[in-house]
Symmetry: C2
Subunit: 260 residues, 2 copies
Amino acid sequence: MSNDDAMRQYNIQNYRTPDGYTSDIAVFTIVSEKTAEYKPPSMTLKLMLIKRAKHNSEKQFNIEAEKWALPGGFVQDDETAFEAAGRELLEETGVSNIHLKQFGIYDKPGRDPRGWIISNAHYAIVSSQQLAQRRADDDAAEVALFSMDEVYNLNLAFDHREIIKDAFAVIKQDLLLTTVARKFLPEQFTYSELQSVLLTVTDDSAISSDAGFARKIKSLPFIEVVEGQKTQRTSKIPTQLYRFVHTDADIIKPIYTARY
Amino acid sequence: MSNDDAMRQYNIQNYRTPDGYTSDIAVFTIVSEKTAEYKPPSMTLKLMLIKRAKHNSEKQFNIEAEKWALPGGFVQDDETAFEAAGRELLEETGVSNIHLKQFGIYDKPGRDPRGWIISNAHYAIVSSQQLAQRRADDDAAEVALFSMDEVYNLNLAFDHREIIKDAFAVIKQDLLLTTVARKFLPEQFTYSELQSVLLTVTDDSAISSDAGFARKIKSLPFIEVVEGQKTQRTSKIPTQLYRFVHTDADIIKPIYTARY
DNA sequence: TTTTTTAATTAACAAATTGTTAATTATTAT
DNA sequence: ATAATAATTAACAATTTGTTAATTAAAAAA
């Protein structure tokens, strides 16, 4: 029997099929507040949300209108949800070539009043400079950035509160267990800039200690000194620049061999 | 506008919707070969696969027949894929109350010749004792366990080669970065039993060193000594038993504070 | 009964790393 | 010239690791 035969055979079965497949994106950025010249920045991790418009482009009332929501939309039949996330991020914010990672599926029956709709959730890392050029599209009345604390006081659409909670947990974990922090930093960075990024998600004393972290960064196998490159953007004294080593293999340090 | 209105409005849109939503499960087990009395076991991580039958229960030719595949099936509209995974695992192997975790989505257009079918992949951890009582159902002609090496020589259905590759990477990571190893062990275990589980996915010398690991296990905050409990199942000399501490909070040890 | 064998455990100790506080450096601002 | 300050290094005790060897307790063999 050919696959076509099998397909026809499958079609006669009376399974109900999903009413839609959406791709949602938790867009993270780090807002770097420069308190003064020659000072390391103070960073805050923020999530971009859109306020769903009252009406859609055809002047009809929108579902879950006027609630805050993750950007996203329906996946087309010629693309993956990952590709859809990239496309929608471009439509929504005008940015491309963004770090994207799939992190969860939301498929609880009844989660979307429009029917059986499966949401595939991703997170994105966008620099605040890139986001500054964002533009709202038809469906998005308003765009804003919220800190972790602020998000939980909002009126959120669908099950986006749960998705956002998971997104924060995943980005926190990834920032500490992978080298994804590089996506929040320029190609070359100082120890205090990397430290600031990590301190947005942890208060580990081994990371917050300046002397300790400045000593440790030099022995990390996935970071290298950029010889002869210094900057004065974080202090009066010219400061050493570092970069992440290009490597595909990810580091796994077992919890069984760590110090406690 | 009510949600019902919005729903009607949505329905008139002409998006194509998926033709199916499936839940697949990578069932892992550790086969413990007892080489002799009073010896620690030698363990191998194995994946359970089913050989797709030539015909289905209605005597029709099966799609991707006679290839090896992950167990799984269509998600129903009144359940999540996670729940479907549990249900299918019960139908397929007769085991319930199994550790399950969602790890990936496979949605590339054309991945399934039957149409636009989205696969939600999970891994399960089942003891080999539980699997021993497995039973094949109508769709599964044959069931077998394969080591990581063996799997890659098989003729695998759909895109299951890719899913399995990811499943092995995820279970390896989880075994080393979480306490999920407990699911492969009895409630109380010796240091060498835990060590054997970990050595199925790593050759880290800090774990393979007996003296080192036996010393280290006593200082891990998520493992505790079971006072006064000893066993002789791994050696002539009565050996201390340990257990995982009950805790929900997961341990995150940054790669930035590890030793290299 | 004595000896051998073996996994678990402890001991021992040098080497490496960390935690911590203080000192030094290089530059800007006053 | 002096004060201020982030980065960096120094200093050193405390902790942890890597490593090898010794010890323990029970079973098996002689």
